[in-house]
Assembly symmetry: C2
Homo-oligomer: 443 residues x 2
Amino acid sequence: MVRSPKILELNAFDAASGVRLEPDTENLIGRRQRTFGPSSMLFYKRPLHIVRAEGVWLIAADGTRYLDAYNNVPSVGHCHPKVVAAVAQQMGLLNTHSRYLNDGIYFYAERLLGTMPAELSNVVFTCTGSESVDLALRIARTLTGGDGVIVTQNAYHGNTSAVTEISPSSASTAPRNPDVFLVRAPDTFRGGTEDIGAAFAASVRSAIASMQARGVKFAAFIADSIFSSDGVFPGDPGFLAATAEAVRDAGGLYIADEVQPGFARTGEAMWGFARHGVVPDIVALGKPMGNGYPMGGVVIRPDLLAEFGSQNGYFNTFGGTPVAAAAGMAVLDAIASEGLQENAKTTGAYLLDGLKAVAAGAPVVGDVRGCGLYLGVELVRAGSEEPDPGAAERVVNAMREQRVLIGTAGLHGNILKIRPPLPFAREHADMLIDAFAGAVAQP
Amino acid sequence: MVRSPKILELNAFDAASGVRLEPDTENLIGRRQRTFGPSSMLFYKRPLHIVRAEGVWLIAADGTRYLDAYNNVPSVGHCHPKVVAAVAQQMGLLNTHSRYLNDGIYFYAERLLGTMPAELSNVVFTCTGSESVDLALRIARTLTGGDGVIVTQNAYHGNTSAVTEISPSSASTAPRNPDVFLVRAPDTFRGGTEDIGAAFAASVRSAIASMQARGVKFAAFIADSIFSSDGVFPGDPGFLAATAEAVRDAGGLYIADEVQPGFARTGEAMWGFARHGVVPDIVALGKPMGNGYPMGGVVIRPDLLAEFGSQNGYFNTFGGTPVAAAAGMAVLDAIASEGLQENAKTTGAYLLDGLKAVAAGAPVVGDVRGCGLYLGVELVRAGSEEPDPGAAERVVNAMREQRVLIGTAGLHGNILKIRPPLPFAREHADMLIDAFAGAVAQP
């Protein structure tokens, strides 16, 4: 079996590791590798064979229940019965593209836009966050006439050709697009007492200046406001306002990638940008939007869309179908009727406190941070700020053995990424805290 | 209301036309324009408000049933009960990304790959045809080290930034990518008695030579083998073999876009390339794959995928989920158990003959052609080869008033595109032929 490439996440299965697996698992891995190829990545040293899910639980073939503290796609809970019913019902009724009139999709569009600032009153539906960011980029480049884009050092925004170029975390040996300029993520752990908002805005201004010095016209700044892939740096509310100002001063567009913070995950707001009092020019939506039904969207100022649309065609066959609308509507309903934003806030705060309490006695933990149900735990060489990716790998796999599933993030892979479905309750937080305490206590 | 741009299809609704509409329709159009913006296109001079669908029927709010001879996404029939049941059941059970083991997705991958030539034994799942073509292009460019791509003059391959650049039919005022070279589609109508295979291969060889003369390295040729958007030119089986040879001779990769001909539509084979005895290097799948559930895929030689994967990350969150697998499996089941390939062949031939019989007495019809359930009818100034887009616009809208839905294609928009769901039966063909006869008889 071919060894997976360097871009493999640290917590991934490695066929060359010689780890002992059940025959059933071995067999499935063989079938997977024969059809998907050897570079297709599986989570954990001992991969999971999952057959069922509900709420915050993933259930393996042997009946073991794993607490899901990783997946943000099934945001209102795995197999949410109302989302499943809405999709099933609409799929049996009508599922066409949007070139016929259908009121379901306009109801959903109106409801979704109702959660946005008044300035953002148009939407273009897509199928994935990648398609959303790709379209957002294309619009920004077309309208500004520039190609220059600023992203953070280890950002991930999706998988199309254009979006891979602005996703430095998708490591590649291909030459980087020279029009893409990187800034450091706002590292609240290593930043000390500095004003992180002013410092980050200054780094964006400086990147714009470098860009212009090289003759590249500035098109857009894009970030997810949690800086998820950089290592989870939500920072204090409002700190991105200065950056938005820097972007506008230079004639660029501010694109908010809401694939990570959007749909109430931060607890403080429905949208990540709203925590910062920023009104973006373009918002890209994806993952949690349909709770697993593939859907995404670009929410945009109508003047920008009209200008783009007057000279460019865009049509997305599976985007904005009545079934997508039904899924999206059921998700918005669940967030509202089940109080999931409030739960993200209170359970998130409880979890943060619990993890901090454990961290106080664990020198390998350098920092615990988070916002709502998006948390990061930075593992370091004891007493230093030096990243310890090996510790992250051990903790993630130890917690998996304790039936609690999390992931890793960051340029060095040393940050634990905790991002459960939103119906995560206090009892689930307690389980996670216990497993975390056990894992960091191990040598 | 802003007038829609020039890229609007000829058969589209135009708010400035002053056409009289029902109040319900007016109201929906208003809501649509406020949320989607003015450039979002609706089919037909008098748009349809569709609320339900089954088999080959679209049913409007007022109960009128329209015969669908346009939509290839609901390929095994609108709201196919077995596809709906498979999706609903799996959605209630498990719907995660593919980084856990799950046998449903490997079963589906094995079954899908079983319909492909033995050389094409790996698959990467995506969510849309656009994502598939985008990935195919990225792989071709990465592996060849070239950027040069050859497409036909009015091709459409999808909507991402990179794919729009190889989709000249997505008219745009943006400068064209200088690495994209265009060849004329194999026009069997105007080609006279020439050997269309030899002529098309020669044009591809010539494009490769022009490319090399300009210092651009050749990466790939891509076509859908029906040349759908160019105006529906399926040609005789086998004619693309010489082109595949020309592509390989120059060190390029042959990408088959199966979004249009794939999944049995041509009647002669499961895949468009198979009609030609060509084994592509990469196959892009989309639209009909999940009968409306958003899914796509790239089928590829394993040596190419391994080389690409050794240095590049690619992960698609919604691609290859257990729900996508369930939808895809139900589609393959329906094609096999309902004899849809055979039906495409026999009903397609019957429809072709019927349309030709009408055409014999209609000077506005220059050519009727097709393969299986993919037909093109070329409308011209009587007795000439000169395209008549106005006639196409009239015929499409007249047929819509007769409750039969088709579309247009081609560089000039003068070709009727007939592409119904595959359970289209002889009685449906008869209805279409009658409506066509009535429409072309009108002044």
